[in-house]
Symmetry: C2
Subunit: 191 residues, 2 copies
């Protein structure tokens, strides 16, 4: 039985548990078993400090990733221009552990476009040859490689011979639309 | 000779090369060798597409991390509330490869405080018992564990028995102040 770690910012949604259940049901439909970060229910009273509880969650998630054969990461931008950093850490960890890396984003805009829209300078800067300078308001460069996010992310998936898919969801369903997720399950099932 | 991979958003600064040279000089001062992402100078004309060049950069960086014994990650928030996602991916990769994880941030504010300030609701929401609801403007929860960033990051460093340090830099020096970086080198040298 192929075990799939379900990484993504869903854990922060008001319906985090239901969203995880929906992903797990889809996994089962394709003959896989999904492992969701919230599977382990922790009792806040069992920990001496918020940090101790956070570290217990982290340990549990790392153990799930260790057990998994595959990670499917929801890399849809979350509170900013990039994917959720927790999800990105997990993707990197899975890469280091030699797992199969699959990921999707429900936002098709390139990283450079999103970054420039959110952090670009108040007045556009052009080069002598008339090209728009891809810099932010602090003068730092915005990477512009026609990718969906920071190059280490898609690069790692590519090095791992994994698969990254983007598709456009409505703003209301940006974080919950599972069609990209299901497309990856289909791809995996087709083996 | 201990090899240290120098991860961080410095690569996007206008003085990216100088900043890397400064970090490498400090490494040498403590008897280490620093490996910086921009060490490999790539020729854009050698690639068929921006993506191909991006993937070559990614491959080069992953190779440097493979070679390294230690990663020192600059997790100072970059264009948003969290660390640069490329840096976070690299930290996760280093964790999966069993490297020593060291990291610093030049911003001492807790993640919850920064996230709420940037993405909190227009009007604060309180529970029946009068507690401020740690949610963003979309109703998604903001994790509040008195940590510096997403719990997977500090959690991973803790699981790896690494070290994470925060210290406050002025806004102007937020991304370039190397005192936290040097403190980690001292800690490593003290072994």
């Amino acid at each position: 039985m192929t075990l799939i770690y379900l990484a993504g910012p869903e854990v922060f949604l008001p319906n985090a548990v239901e969203q995880g259940a929906a992903k797990k049901a889809l996994c089962e439909q394709y003959g896989f078993k999904g492992l969701y970060p919230l599977d382990a229910e922790l009792d806040p009273d069992a920990y001496d400090s918020p940090q101790a509880m956070a570290f217990a969650i982290s340990r549990g998630n790392e153990q799930l990733i260790q057990q998994a054969d595959v990670i499917i990461a929801n890399l849809t931008p979350f509170r900013g221009v990039s994917a959720d950093v927790g999800t990105v850490y997990e993707l990197g960890l899975a890469r280091g552990l030699g797992k199969t890396l699959l990921a999707y984003s429900n936002d098709v805009r390139p990283f450079a476009e999103r970054s420039y829209a959110m952090f670009g300078p108040a007045e556009a800067v052009y080069s002598a040859s008339g090209e728009l300078a891809m810099i932010d308001r602090d003068g730092n460069s915005i990477e512009d490689f026609s990718l969906s996010d920071n190059l280490m992310i898609e690069g790692g998936i590519q090095l791992a011979k994994g698969r990254f898919m983007t598709q456009e969801s409505s703003a209301a369903e940006r974080l919950t639309d599972l069609s990209g997720f299901e497309a990856l399950l289909q791809w995996l099932a087709a083996g």
